[in-house]
Symmetry: C2
Subunit: 234 residues, 2 copies
Amino acid sequence: MQYEMQSSEVKQIRRRQVIRTGTTVEQMVRAIADMIVTGVMHPGERLDELSLAVRFDVSRTPVREALRELGAMGLVDREPNRSAVVANVTEAYLHSMFEAMSELEAICARLAAERMTVDERHALELEHRASARLVHANAQEDYAAHNTEFHTRLYRGAHNDHIYEMVTQTRARLAPFRRAQFRLPGRLAKSYDEHDVIVTAIMRGDSAAASQAAFSHVAIVSDASIVFASDKAE
Amino acid sequence: MQYEMQSSEVKQIRRRQVIRTGTTVEQMVRAIADMIVTGVMHPGERLDELSLAVRFDVSRTPVREALRELGAMGLVDREPNRSAVVANVTEAYLHSMFEAMSELEAICARLAAERMTVDERHALELEHRASARLVHANAQEDYAAHNTEFHTRLYRGAHNDHIYEMVTQTRARLAPFRRAQFRLPGRLAKSYDEHDVIVTAIMRGDSAAASQAAFSHVAIVSDASIVFASDKAE
DNA sequence: AGATTGCAATCTGCATACAGTTTACGCGCT
DNA sequence: AGCGCGTAAACTGTATGCAGATTGCAATCT
């Protein structure tokens, strides 16, 4: 499908028709979502329409549409005649999202083990092998990028568009909480090893093993991330 | 149709707080979603803002907001400077949604078998037993209502809010295609039997069996429904 | 006749204006 | 001093107007 390249060239995006409405509203949705998701704005913080309008130098109409969309995405809460507020992702809900992520990832791994084409398997393995270098260099940023790519390949490999959508959305919402995990000492190497188990299972077509490995991999990431989330909350 | 009477009812709806934003926009979202989902409007059909505004006797502003929300729900497709059109859920995507539904339902059943409280198990069993009567009476409408309730209990029983959200959304999008299955001869009784296997497994706390049973149950529904969808397409 | 370009009607995107609702502050009363 | 109540300010909900984009049609040219 079509979930690449976020912010840089709006015109280009529109031309390529990659993202549906490359309009002002879409830009605002992404900008505001970013602020929420990166912690620039805190849960409960009000998003009043006029301020946003002034800030983005547009009228209130597109702001309202953006807020409505953010509401549908679950990033802000709305009630009639009240300001939209940054959604309070409670720790309990966060936990449920990480758990869901484990389950979804396990499904993807299982289906990928069954359905990936030869080319896809090959590409996954190459991607994985290439990242070994990054582990040795302790290149956290680059490894994070690789990590995203690796998981995306897994999701695609399941050959199910709706599952891909769900897992991608969930992943996006968890992004801010997952971000810091690679700073934990030794996490890079462990992540690589965990990936290795998944890749091996998929190459063998062993869906049960792939599923199991993916599940625990994400569970480990979750634990690491929730620690971070709690830190952040203080 | 029923597009008068709004303004008089608005207060009441808002007061009951049953529905989040009981505003004009929300009512329109539901009304339009209904029309799409019940097949009154067909995929590809245009939803131009002015016509809708006239039809609902409002200005274009709330119509635009409603359309944006419907877009976020996946019920309509939107491109810049073009009318929103009723989303064409391709057969391939439909298939992926049904498959996802099976997987999600299997997860819910497994988690429910592990996590449901005694009260929840009891309520599920009661709900299920009560529906036997509807099967004998061949009360399709009532059974459909029961069916929804039954599955909702299952989803809640998993005790995971995010999974609940995903499964509910997916289910909502599949609703129009699932609707007709109970008209197939003997489907009611079969559905009851399948539910029975699930309930029994959950009461035993046998998560593997519950998961397996739920998976096949939904797979069967999917097959029945896709037949219907193909028919409808002609 | 068929194709192509230009124009007009139509429609969306956004801004602005207005109406209704909520919130907050201050004044008067107890 | 504390408690209400009323009023005004702030903000959301909706309508309307204008500018730019798109589409279909028609007239002209090949």
